[in-house]
Symmetry: C2
Subunit: 252 residues, 2 copies
């Protein structure tokens, strides 16, 4: 039987999941997706993602792939999977890819967005998707600090200390290249968007937590360089809450 490789683009509301990776303790995106694929193809597969998203983190365009002998055309898989998936997870697109395609290893760039709600009262319809931070912030200083991580750097200072959770085939280095890193004010939100070659565990949330210290003027934008050089997690700010973070897309 012919083994076909399928690439999926997924969007999900991460609020009610324990993150991407299968866990024995509760529902995960990967686990729920595996069940759905099993129901459609009759095959027991574990889809691979472009990377793990943590509990509560959302995706507008996560990429996953799996191999199947099922003859179902890729174009029909979108509706078939959406019929059996919970509404909090949607398959946006499905296509056939070469066997060499790997959602993480083949990725050239990933974009994340972080939403900070600045208004006094956060609508119940936004609360799952933003960090509500109504306190004073020097947003200009934050935008300046955001620009300072562009380029190739060792991001150890912004990596979760548990970053030993690397997969055996993952590069051991904490060096990543950031192609763009910017923030802007949009309606009542401060939005931060960062595109890079890859991201360490908690890296975007730790960047945001550090930018908040710049916004509070505890740090200056130019301290970002010093923090990067320290290569020490204790040099940077607290991890921003999961619910403001979105994986926007993955480029190949």
């Amino acid at each position: 039987m012919l083994l076909r490789h399928i690439k999926l683009i997924l969007s999900y509301d991460g609020t009610d999941f324990l993150g991407w990776q299968v866990q024995p303790t509760g529902p995960t995106i990967q686990g729920v997706l595996a069940t759905a694929i099993g129901r459609i193809t009759g095959e027991n597969v574990l889809p691979q993602g472009s990377g793990r998203t943590d509990a509560g983190v959302h995706a507008l365009g996560q990429v996953a792939s799996f191999a199947t002998t099922s003859p179902i055309p890729a174009s029909n898989l979108v509706d078939a999977l959406n019929d059996v998936l919970p509404v909090a997870i949607r398959v946006l697109a499905a296509s056939e890819v070469p066997a060499e395609f790997h959602p993480r290893k083949s990725a050239r760039a990933k974009t994340y967005r972080y939403r900070i709600f600045r208004g006094g009262i956060c609508s119940p319809f936004l609360a799952r998707y933003v960090w509500h931070y109504p306190y004073p912030l020097n947003e200009e200083a934050i935008c300046c600090a955001a620009g300072r991580v562009v380029g190739k750097h060792d991001f150890t200072s912004f990596a979760a200390v548990d970053s030993e959770r690397k997969q055996s085939d993952e590069p051991r280095s904490n060096v990543r290249t950031i192609f763009s890193s910017q923030c802007w004010h949009q309606e009542d939100e401060l939005v931060y968007e960062v595109c890079g070659s890859g991201f360490l565990h908690h890296m975007v949330r730790n960047l945001v937590g550090t930018f908040i210290l710049v916004g509070k003027e505890t740090l200056k934008p130019q301290d970002i360089g010093r923090i990067l050089e320290a290569r020490n997690r204790s040099a940077s700010g607290a991890t921003a809450p999961a619910q403001g973070l979105f994986l926007v897309n993955v480029e190949y």
Copy 2:
């Protein structure tokens, strides 16, 4: 001690609640709000609402009131209550009102909105707030049908058969006046908005379920008059799902 009467304007995401009214079986808006008021004022009160919303129905501007001897200024109650309420329920405003004010009996008009998502794939970030109906619909016929309920009518055909759940002081008549009733297409949604003197249990959802039959051309717009005259619930369509419905505001 001086008894003060407080009016609250509330917004809530109804997804995870068993509706407005306190229930022994799970969390309700009224119950959670009563707990929050108790924590702030130290008093055991049951806030009264402008009307019940069903499980899964949302509010942009529900109105509730309660009496208290607490000296906390109304303006401080907004932040105080929001500090202890879950993020799915927000107090948007609080003000002192005369003892005669009753959120339901004093209401002159209420506006409801119903959102139908017409696209093929419904974003996980919308799914809690719309009815996903991707099938063909004659939307022009629906908009025409919507206009036909304007005026003073007996809405028995659109009332839940359980409408015996009236409160002892509720008018027994099923006559209500609809001031406006219109629908429009906005981005990928068909939006229906209706403003009236009051609404029977399930009335908006039964209207929407009937408009869908007009959209499917099972009924014609002019059948609405005949259905109203029938004064029989079996003359109208199925009850549309709760999650597309929003109580927009209440006027006094």
